[in-house]
Point group: C2
Chain length 201, copies 2
């Protein structure tokens, strides 16, 4: 398969590229430092990316930013930024991407554990993650030509916790998270939220 991975330079994206590369042709895209660059918050940039990449069998998004701040410090701009980037950015990857994905291809988006298990500071992120999941469940019903749409909901990732100076023992290694993306791409499920967790793998 030819697989476009957006967010390929991130902690999860790198692990997804590593997991897919032995068996598939991977095209890496990200905001910077990738063969293809894309600004997820800009639909024109998304369309230009698809035009540059051509037809693919699968699109993976391990991308999208949202603001983590105490609720009383989250500004209108923080919400707008989060909605434009991780939420509508991924929505637009699907909307603009259908015509660039082959029959029975797939989209795999990324939400996160804060959708269901929020913590203080996560109001914008929890909103965005839940919104991505709601959109994907619905979009899967209307995707043309057997194209599938799933979401991986990663927990805290070991490498991320390490970089934040937090206890990494609570996290799941990025390589383990990447298996859920592979499952979405190579499997047959659609409209599913794959909740990556230590428990199930």
């Amino acid at each position: 398969m030819k697989i476009l991975v957006i967010g390929a330079t991130g902690t999860i994206g790198r692990a997804v590229v590593a997991a897919l590369s032995p068996r598939h042709e991977v095209v890496s895209a990200s905001g910077h430092h990738s063969p293809i660059t894309v600004d997820l918050a800009d639909p024109i940039s998304i369309r230009a990316m698809y035009d540059a990449v051509g037809m693919v069998d699968a699109v993976v998004s391990a991308a999208g930013l949202a603001r983590f701040k105490p609720l009383d410090q989250l500004s209108d701009d923080d919400f707008q930024f989060s909605l434009s980037n991780k939420l509508m950015g991924q929505v637009n990857l699907v909307r603009c991407g259908f015509e660039h994905v082959r029959d029975r291809g797939s989209f795999t988006l990324t939400s996160g554990v804060l959708a269901r298990l929020p913590m203080p500071g996560s109001a914008a992120i929890s909103l965005v993650n839940s919104g991505v999941e709601g959109f994907a469940r619905a979009a899967a019903l209307e995707a043309p030509r057997g194209i599938r749409v799933n979401v991986v909901s990663p927990p805290w990732v070991t490498e991320t916790l390490q970089s934040l100076g937090m206890d990494p023992s609570q996290g799941l290694p990025a390589a383990s998270v990447a298996r859920y993306y592979v499952e979405s791409i190579e499997g047959t499920q659609t409209g599913v939220i794959l909740e990556a967790s230590k428990m199930s793998r």
Copy 2:
């Protein structure tokens, strides 16, 4: 209790007002035809509403619009309208409302069954409903002074199905849906999605 009901002229809002009025002081607000008018998509209008109403014990939102259309006909504007109205409108009711709600008061927002059970045409609505739920779960953790934040997720409402010329037997009467709002206001739960259904009542 003094309770502000936004969307008081809608099918659910009228039933909520009817259920609350015998025991509480209800202040009705809506886009038109209410003592207090508010444009949910406009934070300035939301702030003016709160200033006009003064301190309350509970805020109920049975308001918010989102666009229902086939996915390939949902425009950028349809998404933007839906995000600004039913999603960020309700988010801003909470953000702007904390200072107008008394200690141990509550916010009760509205999502809908399409958050979890989408149908063709519901991509924007499913996104918005899920986003409202994700936000409320998180906001409940940071609400000050014992203020609670819940969401009622109504199913198809009998009266709505009737007005659309659809089979009303699949719906729940608005008066039954209203009981879930009363439960949120008069109970002690917070961060909860109250899934209104025929099965549980």
